[in-house]
Symmetry: C2
Subunit: 422 residues, 2 copies
């Protein structure tokens, strides 16, 4: 039996009862003969409460100190979890990110892992211990300061440790049964996906599926580390994310699922002179403002005017920054005006072999048309088609596409528990 | 202007307002031209809440994990304090005990400091920063595990850092104006002591004064580090604890104050054979049970029986352990019976030159006699007389002794704010 890395999110360890339930599950895995490394997030709303305290003492909390503050959350949950395991008669030791050898760059609040040196974890395992590791945190190579990894940090910690320790699998425990063909809160007939490749999972994650973040899937793909996404509330098998075996179906489109996202806004730059370098100036201004953009669409220019429109989507939270950056740059770029629209939604269909199957695109647009959904932007990749619609149309659009591709289950089987982690 | 180490207890940083008030005081010290190192405890009741959580998940929380858990408390307060200072426009960096170089032995929950290597603190100061250090915690030399220092740990951290950094003074901020000639809650006319020597302060601390713990005073005496105990709520000068200058008064008794303690119980071992080795066997049994004893008194043996009684006091919390240990050892020791009494109190008079001034002892006993207080045990040292009385008589006894030695102020000036720290 090999080494298993398990990651439990904040909703799984929200209170003493949750911690004891998780402890029993960990002990069961150990009893089955595995070496076990556990990555844990902060309890329930701890992180939000700490951020609230920070804002009470300082309008702009310093990044280094915010990281010092927030990492106390995992310190609490991991120590409690180790105690709970020990009270079940098994040996456990907790380790901070720094102690576990999670080495990062120095970008506070969203550091990136640059190395993992889990010597102390290996020693603890060799001594028969279960190792509990704080998710979401590390120590910077240069300054030896405590860092946090930002959104999805705990999942990434788990995958990174699994890779460094050559684990058999990285199990990500959450409050749903796995990855679904669509959000079960929107599509009652959504089905749990039993197995999905890294690329499809990446596209789903980038398109709004909240279960795994793209960053963690990227890491797993690079190290070819299988991820098993499953519920900490049930014993069900969840979703395996791994390299799918080559097989006879490779020439057919295999639809993985439908994702949607209503967290973005659309910015349209109107009346851009259609000449080289204009788009570059626009997106340099956006990048300098540190706004992450998602879809980018440029319309065909009207021959008569020599002017074109460029639209892009970005997180609503960054909307104001994007508009301000473009307004400052308007003189240098020379566009006519800006339009901002945060009442949009994005629907994405993800699946392998899509581009070589023209029927997929046709079916997708037919389904939207029959549902009376108007399309505002279209963007495609090798394994994904995304469209932007009115926010109000998103749920209807997701259901229509889900049905059109035969993804509906025979029954309304989806079970959702709610809650969020980090 | 030299380096100042300031320590703030949990009641001083109980909420966001408290943290901001403390931040302003720290910035004022920095503005006055000092280098400033701040040691901070966990906010308000954080430690108790964490212990409560630990007990919910495990009946006997493991020491290593309890230390990991509890140290999150200081992590929160120190990060918030650094943020608050930065929002006042000054540079501050927070450091864990480990980062600050507080090296301890491996005894979890009550580790002792064995070295302080504050290289990172020195660097932070050289860069013009205010350094904020987590009190109460360190890292073990052998296992590199996180440790906590137990009761009085934050004060000891402050004095140890002050010594290692060759600070001018270690300021201990608390919720009272300083060290008083008696507990102001008991004696309305108690006066703040302006200056007191290490030895007298040690005796006061060992005799029940809660403001400073003996452990921290011991450390300060060893390194000759002046301590200034003062209020974080007022700007008043507090009590200086330092080597008093030699002077003309050395041949007179100088009474420092009256301390009392109702946290102990009295154990009497009745009918002990009066021969060599009996006391040693009794106190070996007690020591093996890890009970700390305070006063020890052996009565003169009755010649007719050859038997004597030995009484000692110990913390009430350890009373059951002491009794059980003695019962187990009864066969080997051969005493007749045990008496246990937890309705006692101890009153101590502390001052230099006491032994060579017989009048002091006489005045002390006369005051108790006039107040109608019966004395059950007596114990003296070079600079202290302690008596055990009924618990109900303690307050009256303290007031009587305080008055008899002319310690009463002209007015009821004592101001008490309440609250506890660690």
């Amino acid at each position: 039996m090999g080494l298993v890395v398990q990651k439990y999110g904040g909703s799984s360890v929200a209170d003493a009862e949750g911690i004891k339930r998780v402890a029993r599950r960990i002990v069961d895995t150990k009893k089955a003969g595995h070496e076990v490394v556990v990555v844990v997030s902060a309890m329930g709303d701890t992180t939000d409460e700490l951020i609230d305290l920070a804002e009470q003492v300082s309008p702009f909390p310093a990044g280094r100190e915010l990281d010092m503050l927030l990492t106390s959350g995992e310190r609490i949950s991991m120590a409690l979890l180790a105690m709970a395991i020990k009270s079940l008669g098994h040996e456990a030791q907790s380790f901070t990110g720094s102690q576990a050898g999670v080495i990062t760059d120095s970008v506070h609040n969203k550091a990136r892992i640059i190395d993992v040196t889990p010597g102390r974890i290996r020693t603890a395992l060799d001594q028969g211990n279960i190792a509990i590791v704080a998710g979401f945190q590390g120590v910077s190579l240069d300054s030896k300061d405590i860092t946090t990894l930002g959104r999805g940090g705990s999942d990434t910690t788990a995958v990174a440790l699994a890779a460094a320790l050559h684990a058999e699998v990285c199990e990500i425990y959450t409050d749903v049964d796995g990855v679904f063909t669509a959000d079960p809160r929107v599509v009652k007939k959504a089905q749990k996906i039993d197995e999905i490749g890294y690329e499809d999972m990446l596209e789903l994650a980038s398109s709004g599926s909240k279960v795994l973040l793209a960053r963690c899937v990227e890491y797993a793909r690079r190290y070819n580390m299988p991820i098993h996404v499953r519920s900490s509330f049930s014993g069900h098998v969840g979703t395996w994310v791994r390299n799918k075996p080559e097989g006879g179906e490779m020439e057919h489109a295999i639809i993985s699922g439908v994702a949607h996202d209503t967290s973005e806004a659309k910015v349209t730059v109107v009346g851009v002179p259609d000449k080289p370098g204009e788009a570059a100036r626009i997106f340099r201004a956006i990048a300098d403002a540190e706004v992450n953009i998602d879809m980018v669409v440029q319309n065909v220019s009207a021959a008569a005017t020599g002017l074109t429109d460029i639209s892009f989507t970005a997180p609503k939270a960054d909307g104001r920054k994007a508009i301000e950056a473009l307004e400052r740059a308007q003189g240098g770029i020379g566009f006519e005006s800006l339009r901002y629209d945060d009442q949009i939604g994005k629907i994405s269909l993800v699946g392998a072999g899509m581009r070589s199957n023209p029927g997929v695109t046709a079916t997708f647009f037919e389904a939207l048309s029959e549902a009376g959904v108007n399309i505002e932007l279209i963007s495609t990749s090798e394994i994904r088609i995304s469209v932007v619609t009115r926010a109000d149309d998103v749920n209807e659009a997701v259901r229509a596409v889900h049905t059109a591709f035969g993804l509906d289950s025979a029954t309304d089987e989806a079970v959702v528990y709610g809650g969020t982690g980090r």
